[in-house]
Amino acid sequence: MKAPETFEIPAAARVNYINAQYGLKSWLLTKDHKRIALLYLGSITFFFFIGGLYAMMIRLELLTPQGDFLSSTTYNKVFTQHGIIMVFFFLIPSIPATLGNFLVPMMIGAKDLAFPRINLLSWYIYLLGGVITIYALLAGGVDTGWTFYAPYSTTFSNSYVIAAGLGIFISGFSSILTGLNFIVTIHTMRAPGMTWFRLPLFIWAHYATSLVMILGTPVIAITILLLAFERLAHVGIFDPAVGGDPVLFQHLFWFYSHPAVYIMVLPSMGVVSELIANFSRKNIFGYKFVAFSSLAIAVFGFLVWGHHLFVASQSVYAGMIFSFLSFAVAIPSAIKVFNWTATLYKGSISFDTPMLYALGFIGLFTIGGMTGLFLASLAIDVHVSDTYFVVAHFHYIMVGGALLGYLGGLHYWWPKISGRMYPEGWGRFSALVVFVGFNLTFLPQFVAGYLGMPRRYHAYPPEFQVFNVLSSAGASILGVGLLIPLIYLVWSMRYGKRAEANPWHLPGLEWRTASPPPTENFLITPVVTWEAYEFAPPEEMQVIGKFREGTDLDAPIIGKS
């Protein structure tokens, strides 16, 4: 990297985590959380586009009511693999393992995560799980649905269930280790003065996410392991043919997989809290409410799994309790949405790409969350469960929520991560395309779902075609919208405008070091004397970043003067 010509830069700042060492080995054996974040970024992007490819195949098949593009066997594999890849290999690691990995230490003023070697190990574990899963896909694929319901998966499926299960089992440990690392780091490695209530909300969200990761993931791990052995050895506890109970599998599966939704969306909420506060230059409205609502979601999230079993012969009373709790878990999410909105009040709002994603998130997450209430409501769920209504709902959460938050965060921190600016015009354009494409894809699916179109159908009655055509049209727009950032972000790594240390002029700790940061993040251990999102008055601005002509500092001063 060559230094920009216009400014005089302290020599120490020129060495950053990217150019500190060269060579493949320096990347593959790195213990630097920032480099590991980039390793994750590369791998999840790879998996995202594989999952996206499957999504395109699904949408192509569903253009017509007849199953004419793919055979039913292939179609079943395609939607299964779309789910497995997207859930386990993209959404779950997406924000925590990339943005979280990169930013958690920086935001709390630490040099690294508490266990750097375990952090690297988690990436290798993830990769190993990914490779085994890819093997399962190439060897012949898996057709059980990402839910692996027994006894279909243990007894009736003729596909590579064990290999795919093993891949998920292994990658689960990467998630556990990441969560463990975050919890310990946030507890023990905060910089002097960084009290719990000075933590950025991104950190709170990751703390809550980590709780879900460490409590939930082991349960799915043992469940998948038992399932694989059951299939292998024809003995077990799930298949009624051997005296087992298939509903037990569903309980164990959803005990993890419902909270897993919060693994996906909580970090995204953390990103949105950052974006809303920082791009309106306001402290977040009701900081403690937003912080504790993350924890409340994580805790209540473990008590609602039974709402996936309303039509699976669960007792009426259990159904009512789970329904009640599912409504209750909506409240912390609502609190967040209201607080974000209130934060904008009397702010100074800019329309940079990350903010567009954040605003889109709020809108789509509101729809996704509200339609979740339909599914929590017993009588409606009986009608719409396992229909496209559910598909639409969780895509509003996982794409409209998790993915938009991820993209917003990626743009927001891109200058810090890469040291380059992304092209703003293209950024705004693609954000718009994604928003339009997304809504066109998934809004019609709500309607098709209420009309009764079951999910996982390879061929469907012709009266649903109009909704599927709309959906497929939207999906192609969405696909283009997601390809554009891939192209310009890669392009910007080489050709983008060089980023200042603090291009957005923000108070967070991660902006008080160079872009890209040095390997140890901060040249001096920072001492925190300010609250979260405390925007400095004009006379103190120069210590935060470049606000006046000619005071651009690439290695900014730490702390307030």
Binding site: F115, M189, I214, V219, F229, A233, G243
Partner: protein, 230 residues
């Protein structure tokens, strides 16, 4: 990076040994929480089916070797005691005691695994390895005294749960033995003392945890339902 006269064991990203110790200990506790959840799934399955098939589970359970199980329980409890002594020796800087106690713990751990292996072998001889886990040697419950109303299929399920739980426990024991070997090696080289002994401590936490799991497994798998034998 300037570390002012820092301890050689201090890792670069920690401010001081105290922070490093705190992080290590908390990390192990968090890890043990995940372990509880991991075993929790199996305990749930056990509880469910024990209630559903009480006769079959009692029949199968009664066929397990009570003496071997009891000896193993004693062995593990003793090993936890020696482990605690090893930690104490490390904290107080008694190098010799440290090495002896760690070696004893290791030995007791291996004894446990050896006895477990004998038990597994007995099950193999009795054709009690469930399903097709051993190809060409299918499960056969004819050697088990069935209480009235016990279905052979459910006896097989008991053995499946037995092997899943004790097998997973044994895997943890093997990891623990590996861990202790490393700790013993470094202890012999005098790495741990009053100032720095965190690895001994957190290995101890792990060892006690694996012990506690067994304390639950033993009564659930070996003892419940003995009174139904005759």
């Amino acid at each position: 990076m300037e570390h002012k006269a820092s301890h050689p064991a201090l890792q670069h990203h920690f401010e001081n040994l105290e922070q490093q110790r705190e992080a290590g200990t908390l990390g192990m506790w968090v890890f043990l929480v995940t372990e509880i959840m991991f075993f929790g799934g199996m305990f749930l399955a056990y509880t469910l089916y024990r209630t559903k098939y009480p006769q079959a589970f009692a029949s199968a359970s009664n066929h397990l070797s009570l003496p071997l199980g009891t000896i193993n329980t004693g062995v593990l409890i003793l090993s936890s005691f020696t482990m605690a002594l090893a930690v104490y020796s490390a904290q107080t800087g008694k190098r010799r005691g440290q090495i002896v106690c760690l070696a004893l713990t290791l030995l007791l751990g291996l004894t446990f695994l050896g006895i477990k292996a004998i038990e597994y072998h007995d099950k193999y001889v009795d054709h009690l390895i469930p399903g097709r886990l051993i190809p060409g040697r299918p499960f056969d419950a004819s050697g088990v005294h069935l209480l009235p109303g016990a279905a052979k299929q459910n006896v097989e399920m008991f053995y499946w749960i037995y092997f899943a739980m004790t097998g997973m426990h044994a895997v943890h024991m093997i990891i623990g033995v590996g861990l202790l070997s490393v700790i013993l090696y470094f202890a012999a080289r005098g790495r741990y003392g009053p100032e720095y002994h965190n690895p001994v401590e957190i290995s101890g936490l792990y060892w006690h945890f694996v012990d506690i799991i067994w304390i639950f497994l033993f009564p659930l798998l070996y003892l419940l339902g003995r009174h139904l034998e005759h």
